[in-house]
């Protein structure tokens, strides 16, 4: 009898060219995505006078530094310089680049799936920690540093030790306005921001199967915030339907063959996981972060935890986080005044996210300023065709171009010191959205609810009167 395998085993075995005696595997990389931040890696191969090995499997996009309002180029000379460096590298090495105004431009982890570059069974690398997003397709996808990016550019392979396998099962039906974002913040708050360190995470169970591809991408995206470099979900009909007719996806006979192969990409019934936990969907509420680490999160209806409730290793960090955030332990989260909002990012900048926000904003006015940046120009066009932009603008919010924008603040979209931002992004780190900025992570609908009330509030109260 053959040994039962995990999805991780199957993906790993399919890409392993060889394994050295020290335990490192040399893996084949099917897709390598690069962005402006990859400049260190290009400089490294430049020094060695090496050319990109497989330009046809390498795709570049301007996302991290792109001004979302497209007029901010004069703010900081490093912004146009970073963008030009990537253009120069794309031209020199002959790989495809989606420039600022290209119809396929957008955040690298949004456009990969959108264009069918991301497929089940592939190995996808990108010099960005949120590369775990692509794992939603049953893809071996992980973020890498500049030295590793240079290695992939030079050889189309990567050295990697196989991580341990971990599975998070979620069973049951999510309540109204409870999303993939809430599942993620929930498990990260339970297990810690290093809870899945050293593991590749597989998400499974009836709740996960019921998620759309957008939801699955949000969940896999946030794996790294719980310490896992890899997040993955076995592909199914939902996945295959999403992939069909995408720009770079296989078509016709090739697609049929592919789907046959992809259908085997799931963990065998008795496969061994080094670690496994099961969550109940009914126990998950709309969740909000109150601190400066994604693990510092709680149901919106809860109070900020008392410092005594933490074990010694976490109490000091909680105290420092509350001081930075200007919050008090024991106080309710609901009612915390918010200064501004942001909706976008590789976590929650997809069409489903914009629709959820628009449902809340429809017929309402925001009482605080806010920026909405779609994850890609395709999503922007789709949202505009559906009239969502009118809802956002009608609510008094700014509707901008696509890019990483205020999630990382490299393009000049920043939150001012001391200001509190309700944000659909992935990191509430100290200073992440700007020096002294205070970030509360939550789902797009929850952000929209904060926009119309000016406080952290429970979106379910706003939607209860609406048909949903």
């Amino acid at each position: 009898m053959t040994q039962p395998l995990t999805l991780l085993d199957k993906l790993w075995d399919a890409h392993e060219i060889l394994r050295r005696d020290d335990g490192a595997s040399l893996l084949w990389v099917d897709r390598h995505l690069v962005h402006e931040g990859s400049h260190h890696a290009f400089a490294k191969i430049g020094q060695k006078q090496i050319r990109v090995k497989e330009p046809n499997l390498t795709f570049g996009v301007l996302d991290h530094y792109v001004p979302t309002n497209r007029v901010g180029i004069q703010i900081d000379p490093s912004i146009p310089r970073m963008m030009q460096t990537l253009r120069d590298n794309a031209a020199m090495h002959g790989f495809k680049l989606f420039d600022m105004t290209h119809q396929n431009q957008g955040i690298v982890h949004v456009i990969g799936p959108e264009l069918g570059l991301t497929l089940p069974g592939l190995l996808v690398n990108c010099g960005d920690s949120h590369t775990s997003t692509h794992g939603a397709f049953g893809t071996l996808a992980f973020g890498i540093g500049a030295t590793e990016v240079a290695h992939v550019l030079a050889t189309q392979t990567i050295w990697q030790r196989k991580p341990r396998a971990m599975r998070i099962k979620v069973e049951g039906t999510l309540g109204p306005s409870v999303t993939a974002k809430d599942i993620a913040l929930n498990w990260i708050s339970l297990l810690g921001a290093d809870g899945a360190r050293g593991h590749a995470l597989e998400y499974a169970g009836s709740t996960i199967e019921a998620l759309s591809m957008e939801g699955r991408m949000t969940l896999c995206n946030l794996s790294i915030e719980g310490g896992a470099r890899f997040g993955m979900i076995a592909p199914d009909q939902v996945t295959f339907d999403y992939v069909k007719n995408r720009r770079y996806a296989p078509k016709g006979q090739k697609l049929e063959e592919a789907i046959e192969t992809w259908s085997d990409l799931k963990s065998d019934a008795d496969a061994y996981f080094d670690r496994e936990i099961t969550l109940r969907a009914e126990h998950i509420a709309p969740t909000v972060t109150w601190g400066t680490s994604p693990e510092q999160a709680a149901p919106v209806t809860a109070t900020i935890p008392a410092l005594e409730s933490f074990d010694a290793s976490k109490a000091e960090a909680a105290k420092a986080a509350l001081e930075y955030m200007g919050l008090e332990a024991g106080k309710p989260l609901i009612g915390t005044p918010v200064d501004q909002i942001f909706i976008g990012s590789c976590t929650n900048g997809r069409i489903e996210d914009l629709r959820a926000a628009a449902e809340v904003l429809q017929g309402r006015r925001a009482v605080i300023p806010g920026l909405i940046s779609p994850g890609s120009l395709k999503i922007k066009a789709m949202a505009e065709a559906e009239g969502l932009d009118e809802v956002f603008k009608g609510a008094g919010l700014e509707w901008a171009g696509a890019g990483c924008s205020m999630c990382v603040g490299m393009n000049g979209d920043l939150v001012a010191a001391g200001k509190r931002c309700a944000s659909s992004t992935n990191r509430n780190f100290r200073g992440r959205q700007g020096i002294g900025a205070r970030t509360h992570l939550m789902s797009p609908a929850m952000v929209a609810a904060a926009a119309v009330t000016g406080i952290i509030c429970d979106v379910r109260a706003l939607l209860s009167g609406k048909a949903n």
Binding site: L18, E148, Y248, K254, E257, S293, E295, G409
Partner: protein, 202 residues
Amino acid sequence: MGGWYHIAGITAYLPKANVDTDQLIPARFMSVPRSEGYADYLLHDLRRDADGQLDPSFPLNTDKTPSVLIAKRNFGSGSSREAAVYALVDAGFQAVIAPSFGDIFSSNAVNNGLLPLRLREEDHAAFVDCHQAQPDMPAEIDLKTCRLSLGSFEREFTLDETSRLKLINGWDDIDMTEQYLSSIESYREQTCHSTPWAWLQG
């Protein structure tokens, strides 16, 4: 990059958990070419007060030249930015000792000769006590025996063999991979036939 197997270095203690790579180097400095040096950006905002002046009470703002950083859990979590490692290396660090590290940070560290040394929480606490009792005593780290010592403290630590060999030998992966080019080429050819759908349609 040269390798190393033994260091005796002054330690600095940063008593903060979850020091993510956004803290290690804020995003706004990441467009700087490496050749200009990253030392000044290390923990840039954490080590300064509201007016942008270096805070004299911050552990790294000292005349000593520490090469071993003692940190707390989940050090280097977050963004994959290798610039976080550049900042540590350019500031003279060769090792960081913590109960846990971000996985991507660990890879990046080893690729730049920086040892991410993981100690169990209780060993870490004992190590911090020893450091605080004798703050000027250098810590000794040996990669051949995987031993860490400081005064009366001595422990073996675990480090995967790949990282250990890379740190000792200062290997450059691109050079190392050259010897496997024929294996890569035959894998490539084989997948062209076995998984045609994985190749782009143009």
